[in-house]
């Protein structure tokens, strides 16, 4: 028991301890200040600007900043769709895999361009090395960079005193990629390879089975000497490819799309507990750092700490619930005492869908980290979590991915909630709402509300559309309430731009691919438009002096109010759906 608690502590403490210095570095990079890597990287940076014919000193207003963000994303979407559909004709395809169907390619491209990384396919059996490295990895780098860029555009609007420029989109993205994401990814890649992750361009290996098996006429696996066997299989596959390099950035960029179908549960992607620690910290590191960046940027670090505190409280409570539920397991597994559920010589607890080297502790940590961040990588199968243990990830996603959330986008959505809280608290005491020395007007409020309700709205519409189609039943892997949870999880994951799944759900149908694809696009780009308008509007607001009546946005009371506001919006929108899925399943389990 002490060992488990110690391990939980190590993960959480390291996360915060690393994020604070990183936030100082990120702020320096985004301000174009000198850093230890400048000597090497500034010349590269300048070559990029020259190639794309951009003046790095140009300061863009909100319209131009937004236009460039959207145009770049459109090219990404079209380019990636083309690569995925045409991979059969492209090089680096040792397994000779064909292109994806139009709806799967649309879904996959939408997914990776929106930093979601929902996957309706298994990477190792359907994507070539070209698609993985030249298609997906590129989006894994640029989408978090776009998130950081838009976040800093908002910061600039916040502190601006009449100056209308929000910075330069191309410079922001280039710096985020070159100075932050690539160096961190190189470190994580090398740790992963050292511990066992493949990194090559070889053909897949076929290896000799110690115990060959037979296949009967229906394709079922039987003993090799079974009379029903019509074929003997004596080899198994070991998927190869440039895995570690893609895994590193899928974690750091809150992308989450696995190289392999089973993601970081595969020992090829996540070979040891050490890589689990490194990958798990990577997936939440930059989102946490962004919160501290905020405090530093507005020259009042208490502001960052307050937002961090609100996120951290919800995060810790979630972690405890998942850990306890999974360690307890289910009566179905305990089978009246026939199965040993304790922790002597084993992890114990609900081991269905979990790896031995991780056990319940590393799995619960990862599940909470990955759904707090809008990462979506998994190291255990969430579909096989206990009903309440699996409900927490749904809630974390449905709250709008604001408990740290995605790189950049998690914080800008949370700042929407901060504005909403300031407004409601202001109403309660009868004062005009102010935030960071700026009056909050109707335009700011409209944008804040858009940031707060886009996710829950998309989730509800998405799951409703899927439930209306009778064919969705064929996609389910579990009957009853858990089957509904699978649909809800898919809609929530896409609507929160998370990308994890109750993976038994077969999402590769035209309807589901298109619904989820549209959900992902809407949840990425509606908030980006809102943030740019918000930043542009904040630029024009003059600074007002702080008076005794100004509501503090960095004391305990505000932290409490902010948590309340996030939970209130989440509960009002999601409670009925949760009652039909995980809550119903839990009640059926215990009654």
């Amino acid at each position: 028991m002490m060992d488990e608690l110690l391990e939980y502590g190590v993960y959480v403490a390291l996360l915060v301890a690393l994020a604070i210095p990183l936030s100082a570095y990120i702020n320096k990079v985004m301000a174009g200040e000198k850093t230890p890597l400048s000597r090497v990287l500034v010349p590269v940076e300048n070559v990029v600007y020259k190639c794309i014919r951009v003046d790095k000193n140009e300061d863009m207003g909100w319209k131009k900043y937004l236009a460039n963000t959207l145009v770049f994303s459109i090219f990404s979407l079209v380019g990636l769709t083309a690569i995925l559909m045409l991979q059969g004709f492209l090089p680096f395809n040792p397994e000779g895999l064909p292109g994806q169907s139009w709806h799967l390619a649309f879904n996959t491209a939408s997914s990776f361009v929106t930093n979601t990384n929902w996957q309706s396919y298994s990477g190792e059996s359907s994507l070539s090395y070209f698609s993985q490295a030249i298609g997906l990895t590129v989006q894994n780098f640029v989408t978090p960079a776009v998130g950081i860029a838009v976040l800093f555009a908002l910061f600039r609007g916040l502190v601006s005193e009449g100056h209308l420029g929000l910075g330069n989109f191309f410079v922001d993205v280039t710096r985020a990629v070159l100075f932050i994401l690539i160096p961190l990814s190189l470190v994580v890649t090398m740790i992963d390879v050292w511990q066992g992750s493949p990194q090559n361009l070889n053909d897949y290996e076929s290896v000799q089975l110690l115990e060959p098996v037979g296949v009967d006429e229906e394709g079922n696996i039987v003993d090799a000497d079974d009379p029903a066997a019509v074929e003997t299989v004596d080899e198994a596959t070991v998927p190869m490819g440039p895995q570690a390099s893609q895994v590193a950035i899928k974690q750091l960029g809150t992308n989450g799309g696995g190289y392999n179908g089973v993601n970081s549960a595969s020992a090829l992607e996540n070979p040891t507990p050490l890589t689990n620690l490194v990958e798990c910290l990577s997936l939440l590191l930059i989102p946490v750092a962004c919160v501290f960046c905020f405090g530093r940027y507005v020259m009042d670090r208490r502001q960052g700490r307050a937002v961090f505190a609100a996120m951290f409280v919800v995060f810790l409570v979630s972690l405890v619930i998942v850990g306890v539920c999974e360690q307890m397991g289910t009566p179905q597994l305990a089978a009246d005492g026939q199965v040993y559920m304790g922790t002597d010589g084993q992890s114990g607890g609900n081991m269905e869908g979990k790896e031995t080297r991780f056990g319940v502790t590393d799995s619960a940590l990862w599940a909470t980290f990955t759904t707090s961040a809008s990462n979506g990588a998994v190291n255990s199968m969430h579909d096989s979590y206990t009903p309440l243990g699996g409900m927490i990830p749904i809630i974390l996603m449905a709250l709008g991915e604001v408990i740290f959330g995605g790189v950049g986008c998690g914080l800008y959505s949370m700042l929407g909630f901060v504005i909403l809280t300031v407004f409601i608290a202001g109403l309660m005491v009868g004062r005009t709402p102010e935030w960071l020395g700026k009056k909050i007007g109707p335009k700011e409020m409209r944008m804040a509300v858009i940031l707060c309700i886009t996710t829950p709205l998309l989730i509800l519409v998405g799951s409703a559309v899927m439930c209306l189609d009778p064919a969705t039943v064929d996609s389910l892997n579990n009957p009853g309430a858990h089957g509904f949870s699978e649909v809800l999880y898919a809609a929530t994951s896409a609507g929160g731009n998370n990308g994890s799944a109750f993976a038994g759900f077969n999402a590769n149908t035209p309807l589901i691919n298109v619904v989820l694809g549209l959900e992902m696009l809407a949840n990425r780009f509606i908030p980006i438009v809102a943030v740019c308008i918000l930043a542009g509007s904040l630029c024009t607001r003059p600074k007002v002096a702080v008076s005794a009546g100004t509501l503090s946005t960095c004391n305990t009371q505000f932290v409490f109010l902010l948590i309340l506001m996030v939970l209130l919006v989440g509960a009002l929108t999601m409670f009925p759906a949760l009652a039909l899925g995980p809550v119903a399943e839990h009640l059926m389990m215990v009654l």
């Binding site: 459109i74 394709g219 299989v233 392999n260 991780f358 579909d383």
Partner: protein, 202 residues
């Protein structure tokens, strides 16, 4: 004119980023990995006398009485073929709800199988990882408790003493890293390669 510039720069930016983060980044990672960690970078393949017996990181299904059993697996064909076009095995997770009836029935079936093969264990509760499917479907490990549960059966069926079996298990066990990270675990394929005399115990 201005709009054309936005589109032009957007397209060029996409192409430049593709070269930097797709081509150069992947090539640099692959180059360094192949130079510094060639064994791991090529899949941690266990090769003895020219025969590739598997990867340390990909489990195999064992049901013979003289082999150690691992996690529950559901192997299938149809996903991959080898160079000669023959079917080869691949694995997947169950994704079953652990509160469901299908799951309960599966667990009971596995319990009965294990009881039948381990009469000497009587009603002793079975370690939970031995009756469950893993996250990947090809977990290469089981817990020390699950390994210990099988020692008597392995001794009875291999002609080795229980101490010899325990020595092999010990040899294939990895402890939590740095004393606290993760759980202790036994590599099932390596144990079986040693039981079969393919890998040396010493």
């Amino acid at each position: 004119m201005k709009q054309a510039k936005t589109w032009g720069s957007g397209l060029l930016f996409f192409l430049v980023m593709t070269v930097i983060t797709g081509v150069i980044y992947t090539a640099v990672c692959t180059g360094i990995a192949q130079l510094v960690f060639p064994y791991q970078a090529n899949g941690s393949i266990i090769e003895v006398d020219g025969v590739k017996y598997g990867s340390e990181l990909v489990g195999q299904q064992f049901t013979d009485e003289d082999h150690m059993w691992g996690r529950v697996m559901s192997p299938s064909t149809g996903t991959f073929t080898n160079d000669e076009g023959e079917d080869v095995l691949w694995y997947g997770a169950s994704n079953l709800s652990p509160a469901g009836e299908d799951f309960a029935a599966g667990v009971q079936e596995r319990i009965d199988e294990i009881h039948a093969a381990h009469p000497e264990k009587g009603d002793e509760p079975i370690p939970s990882d031995l009756v469950t499917n893993s996250g990947s479907g090809f977990d290469p490990h089981i817990s020390p408790a699950a390994a210990e549960y099988q020692v008597e059966r392995l001794a009875n069926n291999t002609g080795k003493s229980e101490d010899e079996i325990r020595a092999i298990i010990e040899k294939c066990t990895e402890q939590p890293q740095f004393g606290i990270l993760g759980d202790a675990r036994v590599n099932v394929l390596k144990v079986n390669l040693m039981l079969d005399g393919i890998l040396p115990v010493e």
